[in-house]
């Protein structure tokens, strides 16, 4: 059979069983057909002991369509994803205009399907224009394929509006994604308050603003019974609140961006705007606590929070510079830092990057089991390289904080539905 591939001699990562075994895997008809000790059939790829894992499902990717195609198109994002082992992109609706109607959602769905080599699914805005006043047509948007509803980094500050959105979403079983941050306390902030902010003279926000935002959202989730995901939990102080919410049986999950578990506030250094993120980078104590929470599973999802920005919007004084970093292609190698420093095992990492996001969104991906879609990444976790943002990144925007960084972990090949979308053929 022409569409049959057998991977032999691979380190197979199973994020469901949290196991790692050496063996073979056969793909037929776009699905995983057999696992373990299987006879080679079709195209045979000798993995030579490298890692084969379920492709990454990246929750919260910004693509500049519509509105900012010069920063990132579906084509460029798709190529970056393929090169980074990301087999499903979940886009954010914070575009210009926002994805807040079935019509705009249909437009991006069509554009994405034409242009991208990897799967793309879309989130829609929770309120019209992301303005925090009126809810979007959540029902129609669900029918049109929206996988979740979020106003991204714009917090719905009116709790009456948010409680209605949550109640309505609950009636449809829709997932609402919040950005836990108290808007008053965090207003105008460029970095996390503390010694670094004070020395650099930059406006800071206390880590407590995240806890306050999360506590507020938890009260409303308890009141409405909605399905809720916190986009990024980045502070140690929020973790006990997250633990409590889960223990109380609320339908709550949480994510974190790769940058917040691999970098800290001091990396900003001499006003380096590529390290300006939303929320800002935190203290090293926070980074460690959050990375450990990710390993334990308290934090469910690790994502790139891919946010392309052009050079002009970053070449400004720190306070005025745009926030965000591209990371579709650096998510996997940066995550290997947590593997190499012993914080997380590979199955734990792929539980956070592939299995959990797919599960939370109800997508048939993120698993290494017979019958699952053959969305796979083959990579060498030990291969070293120095990142050169201009020559190595497929994204149109090159705003990565890892420029010039020594990294380990190279993607060798990426497969979507059994079809190779990245890497050497043959």
């Amino acid at each position: 059979m022409s569409d049959t591939i057998t991977f032999t001699n691979a380190r197979l990562i199973d994020p469901e069983g949290l196991t790692e075994t050496t063996g073979s895997l056969r793909v037929t008809g776009g699905r995983i057909a057999a696992l373990g000790d299987v006879a080679p059939e079709g195209r045979v790829i000798d993995c030579a002991g490298k890692v084969l894992a379920p492709g990454i499902v990246d929750l919260g990717v910004k693509v500049g369509e519509p509105g900012e195609r010069h920063k990132e198109s579906f084509r460029s994002a798709g190529l970056a994803a393929a090169a980074g082992g990301v087999t499903t992109i979940i886009t954010r609706p914070d575009t210009e205009p926002p994805i807040d109607s079935p019509e705009t959602l249909e437009f991006v769905t069509r554009r994405a399907a034409e242009a991208s080599p990897v799967r793309i699914r879309h989130m829609a805005a929770l309120t019209k224009g992301r303005a925090g006043r009126e809810m979007t047509e959540i029902g129609f948007l669900l029918d049109a394929g929206a996988v979740a509803f979020t106003d991204c980094d714009r917090v719905v500050s009116d709790t009456k509006v948010l409680s209605r959105c949550l109640s309505y979403a609950r009636s449809l079983g829709a997932l609402v994604i919040g950005h836990p941050q108290d808007p008053g306390l965090s207003k105008g902030a460029a970095v996390t308050s503390g010694k670094f902010a004070s020395l650099k003279g930059l406006p800071g926000v206390s880590a407590m603003a995240e806890r306050m935002g999360f506590d507020r959202d938890m009260a409303l989730v308890e009141m409405t019974g909605a399905r809720y995901h916190a986009d990024q939990i980045t502070c140690a102080r929020t973790l006990p609140a997250l633990e409590r919410a889960k223990a109380n049986g609320l339908d709550v999950t949480a994510g974190v961006s790769i940058h917040h578990v691999t970098l800290n506030e001091f990396d900003v250094g001499d006003y380096r705007t590529f390290f300006k993120l939303t929320p800002p980078l935190r203290s090293e104590d926070d980074r460690i606590a959050v990375a450990q929470a990710l390993a334990s599973g308290l934090i469910d999802i690790l994502c790139s929070m891919h946010t392309p920005q052009d050079e002009e919007s970053k070449r400004l004084p720190y306070e005025e510079a745009a926030a965000g970093a591209v990371a579709l292609q650096t998510l996997l190698p940066a995550a290997m830092r947590l593997y190499h420093d012993g914080t997380m095992t590979l199955p734990q990492l792929f539980r956070a990057m592939s299995l959990n996001p797919a599960r939370r969104l109800g997508l048939p991906a993120g698993r290494l089991s017979v019958g699952a879609a053959a969305d796979l990444v083959l990579f060498d976790p030990d291969a070293p390289f120095v990142l050169d943002r201009f020559t190595m990144l497929a994204s149109k925007s090159k705003n990565t904080p890892f420029d010039g960084a020594k990294m380990e972990g190279k993607v060798l090949a990426t497969f979507v539905g059994g079809r190779q979308v990245y890497g050497e053929q043959g």
Binding site: L202, S206, E319
Partner: protein, 320 residues
């Protein structure tokens, strides 16, 4: 003589011996400035451009005078804040200026780090005349020179900095400089005007002024900006003056020979009592202004020497 810096962006990157070198040279310029004929030719033929993105009378005048006394051609660029987008203006202005081959660029900007950003884009020496809430290195250096001349040393002094620490670049630069010189530092002010995490910087923090002034050798008052007076950070001007204004009663807690400093311009009756400010036995505020010109001359002289040496090496490299 030790002074390696290429730019003067902040105290952060200066070593103690560089600070001493600069202050020693500044001492000689104090003497020169007291003569009738004040001109030298240290910067003869060189071009100094003052670019102030934020209004300033005193600092700009001080830099202008310093450059002129060193024989530089000094130009003041009026940079309008309202002109389109500030950031674009900053980079574009920097590139435009750079094409005119200035040798020294003096910059003040309302955003922290803006002067660092600009320094990456030009070939000349850049002096930070104040960036946002970050640093104001020449102010700290002139304060250090004033203290050293009055106290005969710049070590093992108890220095109290009082007032709006959170929004003050003067406080940050002074903290760094006096810390490098091994002094005991105290910060005094209401908690709303105290930056987060200062406790980790090896300073003592007080919200009670009398306790903070106890036994101080130097009392440094900071200006309280008008826009911070009305309820946002402190309840009112009069309550602030009552709790944190420097008057004779509070000053009595400091050492009998403690000196009183202020970077200016002063709000009499807000952070400092008029009589204290004018007391020639205690207040060194006028002297600070005088030291300002000398320190800026020394800074520009040293940066110009390094710039000439660097260009000389480049030229030699080209010929070799």
């Amino acid at each position: 003589m030790t002074f390696r810096a290429r730019h003067l962006l902040g105290i952060e990157h200066l070593a103690p011996d560089e600070i001493r070198t600069l202050l020693d040279l500044a001492d000689t310029y104090v003497e020169l400035n007291r003569r009738t004929i004040k001109r030298t030719d240290a910067l003869a033929g060189m071009t100094q451009i003052n670019m102030f993105f934020e209004n300033s009378t005193r600092t700009q005048a001080s830099f202008e005078l310093a450059g002129k006394r060193l024989g530089a051609d000094v130009m003041n660029m009026a940079v309008s804040q309202s002109s389109v987008k500030k950031g674009e203006t900053l980079i574009d202005t920097a590139l435009t200026l750079n094409a005119m081959h200035p040798d020294l660029l003096v910059v003040r900007h309302p955003h922290s780090g803006a002067v660092n950003l600009l320094a990456q884009k030009v070939n000349c020496a850049v002096l930070n005349a104040g960036d946002g809430k970050h640093e104001h290195p020449t102010q700290a250096l002139l304060d250090a020179l004033t203290i050293r001349r009055r106290k005969g040393r710049l070590q093992r002094l108890v220095v109290a900095i009082c007032g709006d620490i959170a929004h003050s670049r003067v406080a940050r630069s002074n903290l760094l400089l006096l810390g490098k010189m091994e002094n005991r530092l105290r910060l005094i002010g209401p908690p709303t005007l105290m930056p987060a995490g200062v406790g980790e910087l090896g300073v003592e923090v007080y919200d009670d002024m009398k306790a903070g002034l106890e036994g101080a050798d130097v009392v440094m008052m900071l200006r309280l900006q008008k826009e911070r007076m009305d309820g946002g950070f402190i309840p009112s001007e009069r309550e602030y003056y009552h709790r944190y204004g420097l008057d004779a009663e509070k000053l009595a807690y400091a050492k009998p020979d403690a000196i009183v400093m202020h970077p200016g311009p002063m709000n009499r009756g807000v952070e400092i009592d008029g009589e204290i400010a004018d007391d020639i036995n205690r207040s060194v505020i006028q002297e600070q202004v005088e030291m300002g010109v000398a320190v800026r001359m020394a800074a520009m002289d040293l940066l110009a020497r390094n710039l000439k040496a660097e260009r000389g090496r480049q030229a030699a490299g080209v010929m070799a």
